[in-house]
């Protein structure tokens, strides 16, 4: 819970700075577009970095490779069914609650 709180706090700090920049932009007319471009580039880099680090962690765990030949098919079928039905339920709920494809409430 403390970890979750830490992650949310970091995001809130970012949000507050973003709101501050917006207000400054409206007040002074200063263009902060360079920051948006930088943010996009940093996020793409961090995605690649995170996925690589995760891959190294998975690859370094011998347990995965030793069990793959026997159990992977069971794991795959369960995972695909679980993800598929989970996706379907969320899709039905989104339609029932009338959110559009991009997650915006359609009737507002």
């Amino acid at each position: 819970m403390a970890y979750t709180a830490k992650l949310l706090s970091i995001m809130v700090v970012g949000i507050l700075i973003g709101i501050g920049i917006n207000k400054n932009s409206k007040k002074t007319g200063k263009d902060w577009e360079w920051l948006s471009r930088l943010s996009g580039k940093v996020q793409t880099f961090v995605v690649i970095y995170l996925i690589f680090v995760l891959g190294v962690r998975i690859g370094s765990d011998r347990h995965v490779f030793e069990q793959l030949d026997k159990l992977w098919i069971v794991a795959l079928v369960i995972t695909v069914a679980a993800m598929g039905l989970g996706l379907l339920f969320v899709h039905i709920l989104r339609k029932v609650l009338k959110f559009d494809r991009e997650g915006v409430k359609a009737d507002d």
Binding site: G18, L35, V46, V56, L71, V74, M83, L87, L97, V104
Partner: protein
């Protein structure tokens, strides 16, 4: 993005499997994996927050969504458990065992540990299934975002929705989906250590 992700995951796995014994750098990455992931997440969440703060429509979207945000993680969990229960007929494992395997919701570092004392085989399948869930989520999040819908992407990742998969979700959807991803990650993640012990107690 999907190609980049697949290439990066494959490269990371190969480096982890074959390079850790020969190159100190990769062993260091393995030893400090938690810290490295945390640092990446901190940077990512800060910049995501910055974009959210700058995008004024995000807040009005969140306000519109309201309490409904909380329903999506439960729909995802229900579907996940039902899906696992349905395919249990194909395997020599009990319904509750297959459900417990899926109830890791992608949290492969915790879920197999919770099942370790119950059965080493179920624990091993759980590990593989939840690693696969995270990897499949990486692959399918951009596809689902494009062809099905943005909110649905959070269901694929499950407990990893606000963790490693958050990055892919943001790049494939919109900043407003972060709140759905965080709700999904928080709720499913919190319930993993609750649901698994209950399922194997039968």
């Amino acid at each position: 993005m999907t190609k980049k992700i697949l290439f990066t995951v494959a490269l990371g796995i190969l480096c982890g499997r074959f390079a850790t014994e020969h190159l100190a750098l990769f062993q260091w990455i393995v030893d400090n994996n938690g810290l490295l992931i945390d640092l990446g997440l901190y940077a990512l969440l800060f910049f995501v927050g910055l974009d959210m703060g700058r995008n004024e429509t995000v807040f009005s979207d969140m306000k519109k969504a309201g309490w409904r945000i909380l329903l999506f993680p439960f729909a995802s969990m229900l579907g996940t458990l039902l899906g696992a229960a349905l395919v249990s007929i194909f395997f020599p494992y009990k319904v509750n065992e297959c459900m417990a395997i899926a109830a890791g919701f992608g949290w492969y570092s915790l879920a197999p540990v919770l099942l370790a004392e119950y059965s080493s085989i179920i624990s091993a399948i759980c590990f593989l299934a939840n690693v696969m869930r995270e990897l499949l989520a990486f692959i399918f999040i951009p596809i689902v975002a494009k062809r099905v819908g943005y909110i649905e992407t959070t269901s694929l990742a499950g407990a990893a929705a606000m963790d490693t998969c958050l990055a892919v979700t943001i790049r494939s959807t919109h900043e407003r989906i972060v709140i759905y991803a965080i709700a999904c990650g928080m709720i499913t993640g919190t319930l993993v250590p609750v649901i698994i012990p209950i399922l194997v107690s039968f």
